[in-house]
Structure formats: structure tokens, C-alpha cells
Symmetry: C2
């Protein structure tokens, strides 16, 4: 298995990063999000700096479109590109799988902790 840093590994790390996972899932609803709304949706657990950095990485990968609205005052909206939707689809599927199997995982954890 190719483990040392290759382009694919780096992309995997961006998509599966702590905040990448959440941002891609939120944006997977297909809508456009302002920075502040996105941060609120993430329950303000993410710092502004980390959210900015996460969005920039995803924008650089071509997953997120940063749209500067030419209005006064100007504001910025974030949305998934078609490429980003492709990546997000797999995270959403994984999240749904986790939700469906969480009881079985929690049971395994209790069994492990009791042994």
C-alpha cells in the first residue's frame, strides 16, 4: 500500500480531516453557506482560523467554490462544486452507515470495557 505522502494520500487527509469531514457533510445539502452560518451550523466548536484553513484547503482541491457576492457590504458564500459533491457523497454514506450501526458499536465498546 502506498503510504508515504502521494497526491492521493494528501487528498484523503483533506477529506477525512476533523473539520473537512463536517464541512463537506454540511455543504452536501447542495446549498450556499455564508461563513458565519457555516460556523454556527458547526456549533461554534471550530475556531474561525481552523474553519478558514479548512475551507481554503477544500477550495484549493476544487471541492468548494468560494463565491464573493458583489454587493455592499460584500459577502462570501461557500458551496460544493460537482467534484466536491462526489467526495461528500462517500462521507455522507459513511455517516449514514455509522448512524445505522452505532448501537452495535456501542455494544462492542461496552463488552470491551467490561473484559
Amino acid at each position: 500500500m502506498q503510504v508515504t505522502m502521494c497526491p492521493e494520500r494528501a487528498i484523503m487527509e483533506h477529506i477525512t480531516s476533523k473539520w473537512g469531514v463536517l464541512v463537506l457533510q454540511v455543504l452536501s445539502d447542495g446549498g450556499s453557506w455564508r461563513f458565519s452560518a457555516l460556523r454556527r451550523e458547526l456549533e461554534d466548536v471550530v475556531s474561525e482560523k481552523m474553519l478558514t484553513q479548512t475551507l481554503r484547503t477544500l477550495e484549493r482541491d476544487g471541492f468548494v467554490l468560494r463565491d464573493v457576492k458583489p454587493i455592499i457590504p460584500p459577502h462570501v458564500e461557500y458551496a460544493l462544486t460537482p467534484l466536491g459533491q462526489g467526495a461528500a457523497r462517500h462521507l455522507v454514506a459513511l455517516a449514514q452507515w455509522i448512524e445505522a450501526n452505532q448501537p452495535e458499536v456501542s455494544q462492542a465498546q461496552r463488552r470491551y470495557d467490561a473484559s
Copy 2:
């Protein structure tokens, strides 16, 4: 979106952790792996301590089976449980998607860096 730490979020972090992603992918071949072989497959980039910790977390979640062979000298093999195969399937699909779309992502990165 539920962001503060709930059971589902914790499971997502285990599956998408740096080494969790790789271990689940390696084990997804369906075989049993000895610790040393697994570590070699990961090109020794992961420390013994981190690999031990990753395997323990995945075992606790019920994803990995730790099988102690009663031979002399005893040895231990790791394999996915059916539950772990379910989780790994989504990571493998994501990895395949990344491999197929890596040229497009790299092109986006070059465009971003040039702008």
C-alpha cells in the same frame, strides 16, 4: 448538525483518523495480518505505539478482531469483523473515488496556486 461529541462523531473520528483510514483499508482485503506485517505494509511510517493504539480503538469499536494464536511462541493476528468490513467498504469506495479523480484535483490545486 450534531457536532459536539456524540457516539456517532467519536466513531467517525476513529474511522477517519490518520491511521484508522489506512489500517481499515489494508485489512479490507479480508485476510489476517500479524502486527509486524501490518506495520511493514504501512511502510513503517507509523510508530509501534500509534499502530497499537489504533488497533485497540478499532478492536474496542468491534471493527477489528484480535486473534491470539495458541502456539509457541504465541502470535497475534488482526482481521476485520463483519462490522469492520461494513465500515471499511466506505473508505475503500472513497479511496477509489480519490484515485479516479486525483488528476482533476491536482489540476484544481495548480490553478489555485497560480491565481
